[in-house]
């Protein structure tokens, strides 16, 4: 039987097992919406801004490991989606974005609500397509899902002109995809893996540094097994948190610009570094020349060859999927008669414990004014470390990363690569839909939350009982911190005036609001918010926090990783 393009779209999504489509209607996609109305294999979630549609789809992917799906109309629908797409792209998140386009005959004529969506998104998608013929539609959607999810994941946009959604053709969904131009390498080179295993066993001062790739590639079990087998220290990037259990003694905390003293020192001074699914980002290694001053041998496992030797030269590159490569490496290590050098390892651990004893994350626990770190610590306690935590961008994001100890992957959702303020609330929505019974906490700031505040309405409509932890310092704190350190405390436009009454705002949207002003009230508020009585409710907790608090440790831009500013030094 022949189907219209619009029917084909919904059928393809059903074939892919899609559960949720996050979207917003408009002229160019009305045929598709009409088909959505008629089907019931997936649920459509109506957001209040297309940026949030893509963020929520992205979060659904991060939390579930499946591909997220967003649907937007042409023109402004597509341009509003761009921030969401770029955010997913920078963190390698599998999302398929379907955008409406003006009819094929109108393309290029400056038609109403026409933008070159393929052109605009080209630099921030893994790939994109313009479907000009309904006969190509099903195969293109199949390819889009395949490309988004395989190799190094990423967003894929499919732009569909309106006439293509009304044209008819025979529908057949392909079982598989074969593309001569796209075949990611998943199995690592055996010789290289052998060399790497040997190098690891020879280490005197080993270090394991893992990133988002371990989370994306579902390899935290392998990483944990490897680290336990060798008894080597582990650090995670911001994107890699949860890839190794944070409450384990071998975990040194996050590394990088706001990483712990012990993680950064160990990273700088190790003699063999195993990098897994991490891309030596500038916020992670600081000044590359300073990093290179120390002699060390580096093994780097990554599915994307372009991540390897980009900023740091490595000795043993291994292109492949983390899980497959680590499985093979584990086999070799277990079979090997050689064992790590115990004496050297003991000396190394003694050194690490010395670094750890600097207690670099300490803050004033006796403060009457609420310290943001305290709120995050309490949140961890009260949720028993079991919540899925989303965050926005700023100081609160760093405190969340430092003080919420993630023991499992896919529990920490934030924008690392693009650093997009506004993701927190839509991320919480996507996470809640992926895990309806989980406790979801959105750690945000009074500035970030206002960038997608309209989604409180979506949360009401779909009964998403997320808990918002607003660390309200009345400042764009991260900006204020830089201005304090590097701009002579000239706080240009970094204060937040005329803030809304967040309690009333939450109530206006039909939710529960709380304002917490004293340290003594923090615990009770959190307990109430996460109590069974609030199980079905969105609770907006507005914590009035210390305006002057800064994030430590800190590696200044251009400085070396071991040249951290610590709180006690100020």
């Amino acid at each position: 039987m022949e189907l219209t393009g619009a029917e084909i779209v919904t059928r393809c999504l059903a074939e892919e097992g899609v559960e949720f489509v996050f979207g917003y209607p408009g002229g160019a996609v009305l045929n598709i919406y009409d088909e959505i109305f008629k089907q019931n294999s997936f649920k459509h979630v109506l957001v209040r801004h297309e940026q949030a549609a893509v963020h929520a789809a992205d979060a659904f992917a991060r939390a579930s490991g499946k591909v997220g799906v967003a649907l937007v109309t042409s023109g402004p629908g597509a341009t509003n989606a761009v921030t969401g797409i770029a955010t997913a792209y920078m963190d390698s998140i599998p999302v398929v974005i379907l955008s409406g386009q003006v009819p094929t005959a109108a393309i290029g004529l400056d038609a109403f609500q026409e933008v070159d969506a393929v052109g605009i998104t080209r630099p921030c998608v893994k790939h994109n397509f313009l479907v000009k013929d309904v006969r190509d539609l099903a195969a293109t959607i199949k390819k889009a899902f395949h490309i988004a999810a395989t190799g190094r994941p990423g967003p894929v946009l499919v732009d569909i002109p309106k006439d293509v959604t009304s044209h008819k053709t025979e529908f057949a969904y392909p079982d598989s995809v074969s593309m001569r131009s796209y075949n990611p390498v998943l199995k690592g080179h055996s010789g290289q893996i052998k060399k790497a295993a040997q190098m690891l066993l020879e280490a005197k001062r080993p270090m394991i540094y893992t990133g988002g790739g371990v989370v994306l590639g579902n390899a935290s079990e392998q990483v944990t097994e490897l680290a336990k087998l060798l008894h080597y220290p582990v650090t995670n990037t911001l994107m890699g948190l949860g890839g190794y259990p944070a409450t384990d003694r071998q975990f040194l905390g996050m590394l990088g610009m706001h990483g712990t003293y012990e993680a950064n020192m160990a990273m700088q001074h190790c003699d063999v570094l195993l990098a897994v699914g991490a891309r030596f980002d500038d916020r992670v290694i600081g000044n590359p020349a300073h990093f290179a001053r120390e002699q060390r041998r580096i093994v780097h496992i990554d599915v994307d060859p372009s991540s390897i030797s980009k900023r740091v030269k490595v000795d043993v590159p291994i292109v492949g999927d983390v899980q497959q490569v680590l499985d093979e490496m584990l086999k070799l290590l277990k079979a090997s008669k050689e064992k790590p050098d115990e004496a050297a390892l003991n000396t190394w651990w003694t050194q690490i414990e010395l670094w750890r004893s600097r207690n670099c994350l300490k803050y004033n626990r006796d403060s009457e004014i609420i310290k943001p770190q305290f709120v995050v610590e309490k949140l961890w306690e009260i949720t028993k470390g079991d919540a899925i935590v989303t965050s926005d961008v700023g100081q609160h994001q760093m405190w969340a990363a430092q003080f919420y100890k993630f023991d499992k992957p896919r529990r920490w959702l934030n924008s690392g690569g693009l650093g997009t303020m506004g993701v927190g609330l839509p991320y919480a929505m996507g996470a809640q839909l992926a895990h309806p019974d989980a406790a979801i906490a959105c750690i945000t700031g009074e500035s970030s939350i206002q960038m997608c505040i309209q989604e409180l309405s979506t949360c009401k409509q779909y009964r998403l009982p997320v808990k918002i932890v607003n660390l309200n310092n009345r400042y764009m704190g991260m900006v204020r911190q830089w201005q304090e350190f590097f701009y002579g405390s000239r706080y240009a436009e970094s204060y937040m005036e005329s803030l809304p009454d967040f309690v009333k705002l939450a109530e206006a949207y039909g939710h529960v609001g709380m304002k917490i002003e004293k340290t003594a009230d923090v615990e009770a508020a959190l307990k109430e918010a996460f109590s069974p009585a609030m199980k079905e409710r969105l609770v907006f907790m507005d914590f009035i926090t210390d305006q002057t608090e800064n994030v430590f440790p800190m590696v200044e831009g251009g400085k070396g990783l071991s040249e951290m500013i610590l709180a006690e030094e100020l």
Binding site: R122, P123, H127, S181, P305, S306
Partner: protein, 163 residues
Amino acid sequence: MRHIISLLMENEAGALSRVAGLFSARGYNIESLTVAPTEDATLSRMTIVTVGSEDVIEQIIKQLNKLVDVVKVLDLTEGSHIERELMLVKVRAAGKEREELKRMADIFRGRIIDVADLSYTIELTGTGTKLDAFLEAIDESVILETVRTGASGIGRGDRILKV
């Protein structure tokens, strides 16, 4: 160093802009870029001449390979190869200049492909350096217009770039 990179990619709308966009977005140099379909109409072959340190060239090759439409990439500079560029030069040719320009074209194995009362159009093929040399050799004031294709390259012997 100067590198000449050959690649095969799907002959699809927008494929060229992906390559061009990659070079501009990542700040890579592009000296010339030529592209046309191959004997297999579903494939285009592109030759890119670029300049960069070894690290940058390594990234360029990796990034090109990463483009979903790109099927194969080969750095011709890594082995022996042949490189050719086509140039059309329109020169003022009146009176005794006609004789002189004809002679120069012959020396460079060029051909005069259009003859008008006051001008010649000369076709010249060779490496970029040879084309430069021709332009140096003739009187600058007679050059009315030049157009060059940019280099195309191919490996020698059994160095073959094919799907």
